[in-house]
């Protein structure tokens, strides 16, 4: 609780100071590469524009997306350098492939789709070197916390029975809620987070997750259950039991 509270007070994970100049320097250079028609993005088979006229996508728009995309990639990969690389790849593909969009929303959705593919590729590449089945101490302590919610007969103990969250839709409108949610995601143990985010952010089905990470479907369900319980508890403790802040 205190960790999360700290994270919340510290405010949203903002873009590191060096990232902005980096983006300023890199983006024009990259788009020049794209215009020359030898973009790296062609390697991944993303659609590549024949000509660049009428393209509404520009460096500024993509640069503006970058901090959010980096956070999204970092949460899932837990590796800052890899997250930077993956976002960079996605933005290059986006620049190479964009023919023009009917609006920002369409552009954003498209860039996010590219990024999801890149993250999935990065996870696939690394999946051989990670052992998701191994239970870290953090995971064991989550399981103990879960068990502690119940009486010996496996029904809720009165003080830990899940509470009525009222109208949680209200929370979705508040920036502060999303900061708490992000902090809760960051607090998930790495492997638990990986499976949960493959399921909910990359929208893999459990069969795909089992295959990519070489775990049984039973184990996959156990991990997802653990992740959801942890997030449920974290949100209850740090948001719903706090009363919605006035801001």
């Amino acid at each position: 609780m205190t960790d999360i509270a700290h994270a919340v007070r510290a405010g949203p994970d903002s873009c590191p100071a060096w990232a902005i100049p980096f983006a300023f320097v890199m983006m024009p250079a990259l788009s020049a590469t794209m215009r020359s028609g030898r973009g790296m993005a062609q390697r991944w088979g993303e659609p590549v524009a024949e000509e660049q006229e009428g393209v509404i996508i520009d460096d500024g728009l993509l640069r503006a997306l970058r901090p959010g995309l980096i956070r999204f990639a970092r949460l899932q990969l837990r590796d800052d350098a890899l997250a930077e690389d993956v976002v960079q790849d996605a933005l290059m593909s986006a620049m190479a492939g964009a023919k023009g969009f009917a609006g920002r929303a369409a552009l954003n959705t498209w860039v996010l789709a590219i990024l999801r593919n890149k993250i999935a590729d990065a996870i696939r590449l690394r999946s051989r070197s990670i052992n998701v089945s191994a239970l870290a101490p953090e995971e064991e302590s989550l399981d103990q916390a879960f068990e502690a919610l119940f009486k010996p007969n496996a029904h809720w103990s009165p003080q830990s029975r899940p509470r009525d969250w009222g109208d949680p839709e209200d929370a979705l409108q508040r920036d502060q809620f999303w900061i708490v949610f992000e902090a809760c995601l960051e607090h998930l143990p790495e492997n638990t987070a990986r499976v949960f985010m493959m399921r909910e952010f990359l929208e893999f089905d459990t069969a795909e997750i089992c295959k990519e990470l070489a775990i049984s479907s039973g184990n996959c369900h156990v991990i997802l259950h653990r992740a959801r319980n942890a997030l449920r508890g974290c949100l209850e403790e740090n948001w719903f039991d706090q009363g919605a802040p006035a801001c």
């Binding site: 873009c15 959010g68 999801r116 029904h155 899940p162 009525d164 949680p168 909910e200 997802l224």
Partner: protein, 71 residues
Amino acid sequence: MLSCKEVTRLLSESQDRELTLFEGLQLRMHLAMCKGCTNFDRQMKFLRRTSRLYAARTAKSAEAPKADGGN
């Protein structure tokens, strides 16, 4: 009769696989009587929705009218 602990497991799994007819029936019977698990059920659905929205928001976060002073 399912325990609450088993119900949390089934509610989580219902987001990832189709429950059997029997599991669904047991679940509904339990939920009809148990306020805690009913809340848990709503919270699991909220979590799914929130996660999907979170993903969509990441590509939009730069548009939020937050002055970052970085430009």
